[in-house]
């Protein structure tokens, strides 16, 4: 069914993604930044549980509503300005890869980014519109992520090239400490890079009338967001990810360079919507993925374990299911994936590849009909089933998660029965062979 060629192609894709320094830097940066995204979304949770006069402790202790500003600030400091730390991290990771000075490269990238985004905002006070100094939140927050990533790649390449040109290096006597020499030798490249960035940014604005961050958001990021949030788009991504798992490769990790930025964008958009009194509408977030795509482990492994407990007559499968139960409650699938194994196992291929997609479709359905809200609190990896769904998506989330786990149990059952039959055949074959001898 799965040809060797197909397997090789996927393996090569996984290796190429892993070896690509740009994708790798993006991936590593988001791994570092993820806790901040979650902390920022928990600020929203704290705000509603403590400070909200409607839903929080502030109903009884009104003073607590004074603290609301603190949690709003915490959310701004993490999600609201996420482009800046992400740019810094990507630049640092790229510099590390190229063996260039990491911190300087990080600062250069942030400075370059700040030089191309607007420094004035249009504000309206008492129906008079005017300009004031300030950076628009769109440039600092999630809407700046993709332009930030692209610009960082270009800037770091330029800066790295410039630092390697010997002709523009300032000569220092050997007695001068290395740190000082490094800082002087990066001075000219820094200047050239920043002049290039700010002039290019200004020229772009002069020529087109829009800032480059607005332009990249419109032509690249917004369409990507739409595709990522569309049922067809996300289902394709989920199934693509499971194909890797079928080979025994961490599918989520392979797609993370593109998936994680879009998830960060989605949670930020949901939080911003909620703060403005609108209904959050970005379904696919990190919490959504954890709760409804990989519930019990990628491929709905917790459901497979239940199906094995109920119907499997195979001692080896039951043993692995017992071993994998604890981890699966925490969405860790590896013991079953490699122990059963599910890797390249034709018997279980269909549900293993498609079950996460089905679960995702179920959750999207319940979101679309308005039963389940889009989350504003993200759930980290490692929060157990049920609890994770409750934190992220409320009691509705818990119900939807139980439904999708139950549906997955049903889809696993025929294949567990098939595995029983195969084992029986195997035993009969062995018995027949034994008789022949």
């Amino acid at each position: 069914m799965f040809s060797k060629k197909f397997e090789d192609t996927l393996m090569i894709i996984a290796e190429k993604v892993d070896e690509n320094k740009y994708l790798n830097s993006v991936k590593d940066s988001f791994t570092v930044f993820m806790p901040f995204v979650i902390a920022g979304s928990f600020a929203v949770l704290l705000n509603s549980v403590l400070c909200s006069p409607k839903t929080g402790l502030a109903q009884w202790i009104p003073w607590l509503s004074n603290l609301s500003v603190a949690f709003t600030a915490m959310n701004f400091a993490t999600l609201g300005i996420m482009s800046i730390p992400v740019i810094f991290l990507i630049a640092m990771n790229l510099a590390k890869h190229d063996k260039n000075p990491e911190y300087i490269t990080g600062v250069v990238a942030v400075a370059s980014y700040c030089s191309v985004i607007p420094e004035v905002v249009t504000i309206t006070v008492d129906s008079v519109t005017g300009k004031a100094a300030g950076i628009p939140s769109a440039a600092l927050g999630a809407q700046g992520l993709f332009v930030g990533m692209l610009l960082t790649i270009v800037i770091v390449r330029l800066f790295s090239k410039l630092t390697k040109i010997n002709a523009i290096k300032i000569k220092m006597p050997p007695s001068v400490p290395v740190g000082i020499t490094t800082s002087f030798n990066t001075l000219i490249p820094i200047m050239v890079t920043l002049v290039t960035a700010s002039v290019a940014g200004a020229l772009f604005h002069l020529a087109t009338g829009v800032y480059i961050n607005e332009f990249v958001y419109q032509v690249l990021q917004a369409p990507l967001e739409i595709v990522f949030q569309s049922p067809a788009g996300i289902l394709a991504i989920v199934i693509f990810s499971q194909l890797f798992w079928f080979l025994g490769i961490h599918g989520g990790l392979v797609i993370s360079p593109i998936r994680n930025p879009l998830m960060a964008v989605a949670i930020a958009a949901n939080i911003a919507a909620a703060a403005n009194g609108q209904v959050p509408d970005q379904a696919v977030t990190y919490g959504f993925w954890m709760n409804f795509v990989v519930a019990g482990g990628a491929g709905m492994i917790f459901s497979l374990i239940l199906a094995i407990f109920m119907f499997s007559k195979r001692e080896d499968h039951r043993m692995i299911a017992k071993l994998g139960l604890g981890p699966a409650i925490f969405n860790i699938s590896e013991p079953v994936v490699f122990g059963l194994p599910l890797v390249l196992n034709p018997t279980f291929a269909i549900p293993f590849i498609f079950n996460s997609g089905i679960a995702c479709a179920i959750a999207l359905f319940f979101t679309k009909i308005g039963f389940m809200p889009c989350n504003i609190v993200d759930v980290p990896f490692g929060v157990p089933l049920i609890l994770g769904a409750f934190i992220g998506h409320g009691w509705q989330g818990t119900i939807v998660q139980i439904i999708s786990i139950a549906v997955a149990v049903v889809t696993w059952i025929p294949f567990v029965l098939m595995a029983n039959k195969e084992a029986e055949k195997e035993v009969m074959k062995k018995a027949a062979e034994a008789e022949e001898v």
Binding site: E15, D18, H250, L253, I320, F330, I332, P335, F338, P341
Partner: protein, 101 residues
């Protein structure tokens, strides 16, 4: 001997680590065994004598081999021993890698 395991988030390899520690203890060996997220491999350079990758990140083997530059042996954990959390088998794999060097 210092044995480091790496996977995505270091969570599933941690299950194997505890089984390996049990196996090492049963054999009377004093090893330091720990698991990290795959992004931490470079930061840990010099701390480990052998690196084992979880099979789910085996597509990183080529890049990681380059990073280690022949200084430290590295391999992908046998996937069945990994799935069954067979600490003794993984421990043996690590020892073999070090001794081969």
């Amino acid at each position: 001997m210092n044995i480091m395991l790496a996977c995505c988030a270091g969570m599933s390899t941690n299950l194997v680590v505890s089984k390996m520690e049990e196996a090492a203890k049963a054999q009377g060996k004093v090893y330091k065994i720990w698991a990290v997220d795959q992004t931490k491999i470079e930061a840990e350079l010099g701390n480990f004598d052998v690196l084992l990758l979880g099979p789910q990140v085996r597509h990183m083997l080529r890049r990681v081999t380059k990073i280690l530059d022949g200084q430290v042996p590295v391999d992908v954990i046998d996937s069945v021993s990994y799935g069954r959390c067979d600490g003794a088998a993984v421990l043996e794999q690590a020892e073999k890698l070090v001794n081969k060097k």
